[in-house]
Symmetry: C2
Subunit: 331 residues, 2 copies
Amino acid sequence: MLTTDLLPPIENEMRRVLALADGERYHLLHHMMAYHLGWEGEGAGPEATGKRVRPVLVLLTAAAAGGDWRAALPAAAAVELLHNFSLIHDDIEDNSPTRRGRPTLWKLWGIPQAINTGDAMFTLAHTAIIRLKLPPERVLEAAEVFQRACLRLTQGQFLDIAYEQERSLPLTAYWPMVSGKTAALLAACTELGALCAGAGGEIRAAYREFGEKLGLAFQALDDELGIWGDEARTGKSAASDLLEGKKSLPVLYGLERKGEFARRWMAGPLTAEEIPALAAQLETEGARGYTQDTAARLTDEALSALERARPRGEAAEALRALALRLLKRRA
Amino acid sequence: MLTTDLLPPIENEMRRVLALADGERYHLLHHMMAYHLGWEGEGAGPEATGKRVRPVLVLLTAAAAGGDWRAALPAAAAVELLHNFSLIHDDIEDNSPTRRGRPTLWKLWGIPQAINTGDAMFTLAHTAIIRLKLPPERVLEAAEVFQRACLRLTQGQFLDIAYEQERSLPLTAYWPMVSGKTAALLAACTELGALCAGAGGEIRAAYREFGEKLGLAFQALDDELGIWGDEARTGKSAASDLLEGKKSLPVLYGLERKGEFARRWMAGPLTAEEIPALAAQLETEGARGYTQDTAARLTDEALSALERARPRGEAAEALRALALRLLKRRA
């Protein structure tokens, strides 16, 4: 089973769900959602849709856990709609003018319509999950898993916004934030996949842990790339996280060290010119090594959780390959 | 059964749901929701909570349809959390600085936190509905009814925001907007109450229609009061809807007449001084009578739907009284 074979069915299921919001008077509402999903408007196409990592993760997990991936399509659509709803609102909250090279929804249609369009997509995400054709009690379990992820997502976003007011934070503040912002949704992807396949207790817990650790490892690596990444590979300018004052893992590590980096950081906003030297200083103080070690440990934990889940068949291979691709973007 | 007896159990159920979002690092997130709900912060108390009309409607319907109202408490909490989530986002979208005499959430904590706090409350509303202790297939039915209301709410809000750009609109544009913004949620209240009581097909449809027509009638009356209301009774200055340029039912009626009122309206924003004369002109052109007639017809349809639902016991009386109280605010 090739991951690329899964993409058209995922888009189809999402289109079916989105159609529920369409109607004579609501074409623009539908269009705004379709625009954000990369289907319509200027710049629509594969570049604009994103990689659909989350729904693919749901389907591969369902197959690896011995289920029929087709039965998990509603859950796949639900997680991708949830992810995209959160991006629509994040873009407003972060005042971001572009996403994936296109103007953000609020830039084109204003903040009021963008907030409401996000709400509509959030509603559709909840609608998608109860379209699962499983025994009713199992559908309710899936809805619970899904809603727990929604709540953790808003809790993570709450911390992210609150942290922006702080110049410094303890290293321990990092994990609750990324666990809500990144890991909660990936954990829901793998747990939902396993649940759709009818996997019970321990197997389901192992898949959930795989997703959770995958999310944490991914975030740690992303934070490393945000400071020391190769511009040509990451597509964003190296060290841009420092310039934006992002409280990433290496930065919080550096602040705990209370060295040269911390002194400069606490003195106020950095300028573009001093970024290269400061990134080098942060590396000298051990932050890069610490971040890499942390990511490596979390990657090991993710892969070991995956093995405990005893994934089967070619989906197991595809799942390992997906995890490695996410976690080895430097390779 | 007194309506006031229902209020403490409603608040308790809402508090239980809200507690799910609390936690060591999330007290402020919880507090922002509790503030909006009127429980905490400056000005907290009965004045700040609102009347909880929607959850009361759920519980009275459940009892009148022969069920135990206690079993419907999760649905009651869900509709009130949904209503309040929509108010949090509406206040941002409308740029409203106050609600029920207190600063709005976004005024106190900024737009990013307010958007996200609304999202958290929206999540909790979905969580509340699946807390229903009914057979799983019935809980899923309730979730479907609830989600349909959510979608209609966002569709209505979409139209409301879009209409702000227009100086004129046909009268037919009015109904889809208010049906989404007001009627959808009241219809969900009565349908959920009936569903929780185990009412089937026709009875459930009659209760739903009762809620839907109640919402439409209420909105038409509210629009009349917004122009010709007694300031002392409505609590907002008479004719304020005209000053704000709100596309209410009498205004759209007046615009269709293409008379003196329409000519002035189309010429641009009105000033406070000309409002009394213009309100009188609109009345002369028949808009007030039309609005009253429409409200009276919808009220009749609501009450006749209620009778078709054959409500039982003292809850039936309380339900009629609630409807009349909502619809006869001038009495």
